[in-house]
Symmetry: C2
Subunit: 205 residues, 2 copies
DNA sequence: AATTGTGAATTGATTCACAGCT
DNA sequence: AGCTGTGAATCAATTCACAATT
């Protein structure tokens, strides 16, 4: 794992966006696209798109643009997003169970293989096991799970996170409204709905 | 509205985080806090916290720190987050109805006053009206709603957004996996779950 | 002629270092 | 003595400008 560390996280985010735009182009049987056009679809400047791609190599043809298939494949490779990645979800409340039903993850390459809760209730319509949280550590170890979605209340978020990290989780998508303290080798992305709303409300007159 | 435009959006985000940490301190009857301590709780450097606050004025006492109540009140004022802000939610699918049930918004100062869907089904357990989307424009106008949560499929997101903006919506919290095109006076914050996961997967070995 | 790829310039955000209060 | 507030310095990200390539 050589250079991963010094590529801006924002560039990685944007790669995912470019990827999505490329899929749309592919559906429409477009096979070549300029940085100008792709950047417009992704809502960024064309120079930024080119700089983002430059971190990983050269994929375009001057005078012509990018081959949609090639670029799409390349970005998939870079994002390491080729094999199905197993994920667990912890905290089967309102938000947690909605995300389980949502299911849009699978086609993006993620499979929620199990969910955990302090007091798991059977949910017939979901076809994944909902297990008591005491079994979480063993499960993570046995199934070599590296990613987790955290949808527990703020009060237990840090505690649950500690357990997950101890068991080997390396990446957490955190929906709990709290700041998580994790060791350096663990990555956390937080989505805080209240903060997003608050932020918006600042900008309206 | 003079200076709003040149304060970094990231600072505004962090204000919300500070606010949450302050609430926790208040619950514990702490009445003074240093920038060092508060910054630690928020997961940032103390100089950054002080710089963030400096955009709005001087609220601390040198040698002592900040008064928790005063600072909390001040941040509320800055965020314009004092009166209950009405919000609509559009797209009552899995994610949409989960957010409606979630309800954590109210205590943060936001009230979801109505939800809209192409084919609204009555949902007894929710005590807000779920209305057909054709009534959205009138509703926005009549109730002077300025904020919307968008949870429709990507394919209709832009179309629905155009209608909302025409009716007077000024801020959108977008969960649809697509880039929205809006006029300058409208703010969009996007939460893209698949992108967040993809981003994490890049950083695990 | 068109469009990429990239050093240089610019703009923006963070951190440092310390003067100024209490 | 301790801690805030802030100009200066550093670090990071974006945009410009244009040479290189098809």
């Amino acid at each position: 794992m050589p250079t991963k560390i010094d590529i801006p996280r924002k560039s990685i985010y944007r790669l995912s966006i470019y990827q999505r735009c490329l899929s749309k182009l592919r559906e429409n049987d477009v096979d070549t696209v300029s940085s100008e056009a792709l950047a417009k679809a992704a809502g960024v400047k064309s120079t930024q798109l080119r700089k983002d791609l430059a971190y990983f190599g050269q994929f375009g043809t001057r005078g012509l643009g990018y081959n949609v298939d090639v670029l799409s494949k390349t970005i998939s490779d870079v994002l390491g997003h080729n094999r199905l990645q197993p994920v667990i979800l912890v905290g089967v409340g309102n938000l947690g169970s909605a995300l389980l039903r949502y299911g849009g993850f699978r086609k993006e390459g993620f499979e929620v293989v199990a969910a955990f809760d302090l007091a798991p209730r059977r949910q017939a319509e979901l076809n994944i096991p909902i297990l008591p949280i005491v079994e979480m550590k063993d499960f993570i170890g046995q199934h070599q799970v590296k990613m987790a979605i955290l949808t527990v209340p703020a009060s237990s978020a840090q505690n649950v996170t500690n357990q997950m990290v101890e068991a080997g989780i390396q990446a957490v998508l955190n929906f709990s409204p709290t700041v998580l303290d994790v060791p350096d080798h663990v990555v956390v992305n937080s989505v805080d709905l209240a903060v997003e709303l608050e932020n918006l409300s600042y900008f309206i007159r």
